[in-house]
């Protein structure tokens, strides 16, 4: 539901507001901006400083002193490059799957169901319904539904679609499945918002000009829904790349499905290796900002930011 709001920023009017008492503006802005500086920007700076810390001379666990130890970055990349690659790989696959899953659904709600507003709002409520139940519990529900004793797995094995000794949980399949499922509403909502505003006369025009339905879809519908596609893919990709619940061993993951989030959590909260956790966080954030920047530029939807 956050994301219906987020997607709607694309449509917010951007005309210059009237020039008025700027002291009032300052008073309105200051508390919130100060808050974000103190609790968002300052922590990022302290994350950068932490990422360069060196172990304390006394060799105590969890004790570090400020330094400029750039080797931290080299070391975490050398040690955790599979996790880093895996995170972005899983997130990318989950984003593509969520897009393929969501586009027809959003199209039906936003375009086909326009004549029935009640059906439209009912379906929207169902799309955001997963948000109302705990993220962790719904992931655990899938763990049970995909477990070796589950109806699904025993039937797949009975008809030999799955090898007798195969598992679904604890594999790359289940982690990507979980990521896809959990972030589908983030994809569907922005898609719905743009498709709902789609002017059907454009599609009729395509039809009148003897374009095939597929051709109209590819050259008219898809480009017109690009803002929704960009917003949806970002809202899915970013949290999916940093997620560590789906890949956690107690949830849908296994020993060799650990993602960068799992490694950051383990280093920070268990191993107390703060510099490693911090350098991994900075790497994650930098890659995401670069990906977002390039992607938004190439798809020509800068006004989304």
């Amino acid at each position: 539901m956050a994301f219906a709001a987020f997607a709607s920023t694309a449509a917010a009017p951007t005309d210059a507001p009237p020039r008025r008492r700027s002291r009032v503006a300052l008073l309105l802005l200051l508390p919130g901006i100060l808050y974000l500086v103190l609790f968002f920007l300052a922590p990022l700076v302290s994350l950068i400083l932490t990422s360069l810390q060196a172990p304390s001379e006394f060799g105590d666990i969890g004790m570090y002193s400020y330094a400029f130890r750039w080797e931290n970055y080299v070391e975490v990349i050398a040690q955790y490059w599979p996790h880093i690659l895996r995170s972005f790989g899983y997130a990318l696959i989950a984003t593509v799957l969520a897009l393929l899953f969501s586009y027809p659904l959003a199209y039906f709600i936003g375009v086909t169901a326009r004549r029935w507003p009640l059906l439209q709002s009912l379906m929207l409520v169902l799309v955001i319904a997963p948000f109302f139940i705990s993220f962790l519990l719904r992931t655990l529900a899938w763990k049970q539904l995909l477990s070796d004793e589950s109806f699904l797995v025993t039937s797949l094995k009975a008809v030999s679609l799955l090898a007798p000794d195969a598992h679904l949980t604890g594999t790359a399949f289940s982690v990507i499945f979980g990521l896809t499922y959990n972030f589908i509403p983030f994809m569907t909502l922005p898609l719905y918002t743009t498709l709902e505003r789609l002017d059907l006369r454009y599609l009729e025009a395509g039809n009148d000009l003897y374009a095939s339905r597929f051709h109209t879809f590819r050259t008219v519908t898809i480009p017109l829904s690009m803002p929704g596609i960009v917003a949806g893919t970002l809202l899915t990709f970013i949290p999916a790349a940093g997620d560590y619940i789906n890949a956690s061993r107690d949830f849908l993951g296994g020993a060799d499905t650990q993602m960068i989030g799992n490694v950051i959590e383990a280093n920070f909260l268990v191993l107390l290796n703060y510099p490693a956790a911090a350098s991994l966080s900075i790497i994650l954030m930098t890659v995401i900002l670069v990906v977002v920047g390039v992607y938004v530029k190439r798809s020509g939807t800068e006004e989304l930011l």
């Binding site: 968002f40 990022l44 994350l47 659904l105 948000f131 719904r138 009729e204 966080s281």
Partner: protein
């Protein structure tokens, strides 16, 4: 127009199946809240209403304590974030000032930063300042990530507000305070309420940022995370199901109210 849809029944059928798929884990969680389970709630052992009637009985009320913490944190973070965010939203739409682009960027970045980075960053800061992690640090963290969402939600409402209404108030000699209290605020209220609900939902279900900044305090999602390895009692399903039903009622009521308002306006116009 119908010719434009991908086959007459293929698309509706797909949409119905897709929505059913989205409901699967919700229905599972709901059904297993009635399971006559022992320690862990994995296999079905028979129907009981017992877990719903004695939610707090299990583990000396650990589930309920976690739930209570989540409520307190959610309410506090919502109150602060909604206030700060609404002020920013009004300033962004109504006033022109320097550093506008910088302000927008500062509001966008927290939404584009993975939660694990936000969580680890704050935890690193609390660590270097020697701040002990407790309920207070969780509230600080939740407020931080809710502000941007409040701004985005309320901004849309401020942008749709007709400045002529406030001008009329000023023309009739209303003081700035009166104009705000009697005209601006009531007109913004639906947007502010939506933002508050959103903040609460985000805070209530947050696990990743909480995990880094909670110390020994347990919230409802954190309780589930910790219990996941040794089995989660059915009482957790009861609380999650009850919250689900409540949220559904609120959203449906809001939808019905909006539809009724639109209808009334249509009749008047």
């Amino acid at each position: 127009m119908t010719r434009l849809s991908l086959g007459k029944w293929l698309l509706p059928l797909y949409a119905a199946l897709a929505l059913i798929f989205l409901m699967v884990p919700i229905v599972y969680t709901f059904i297993f809240s009635f399971n006559d389970s022992l320690k862990s709630n994995i296999t079905w052992r028979g129907f009981t209403l017992d877990k719903w009637l004695n939610v707090c009985a299990v583990q000396n009320g650990a589930v309920c304590e976690a739930f209570g913490n989540s409520l307190i944190i959610g309410l506090a973070a919502t109150l602060i974030a909604t206030t700060l965010g609404t002020m920013i939203a009004i300033a962004l739409v109504r006033y022109r000032f320097r550093f506008r682009a910088g302000t927008s960027l500062l509001l966008f970045l927290p939404m584009a930063t993975p939660e694990v980075v936000l969580g680890a960053g704050l935890a690193a800061q609390f660590l270097s300042l020697g701040v002990p992690k407790d309920m207070f640090t969780i509230i600080l963290a939740h407020t931080m990530f809710c502000i941007s969402f409040v701004v985005v939600t309320v901004k849309a409402r401020v942008a749709g507000l007709d400045p002529a209404l406030e001008e009329a108030g000023r023309d009739l000699y209303g003081s700035p305070g009166q104009v705000f209290a009697r005209i601006t605020f009531p007109l913004l209220l639906p947007g502010i309420l939506a933002a508050a609900l959103l903040s609460f939902a985000l805070s209530f279900d947050d696990f990743i940022i909480t995990n880094f900044n909670s110390g020994a305090v347990t919230t409802f999602p954190k309780y589930i995370y910790i219990s996941a390895s040794r089995g989660i009692p059915a009482e957790a399903n009861v609380i999650a199901s009850a919250v689900f039903i409540l949220a559904l009622v609120i959203v449906v009521t809001a939808q019905v109210a909006a539809a009724a308002r639109a209808k009334r306006r249509g009749r008047l116009g």
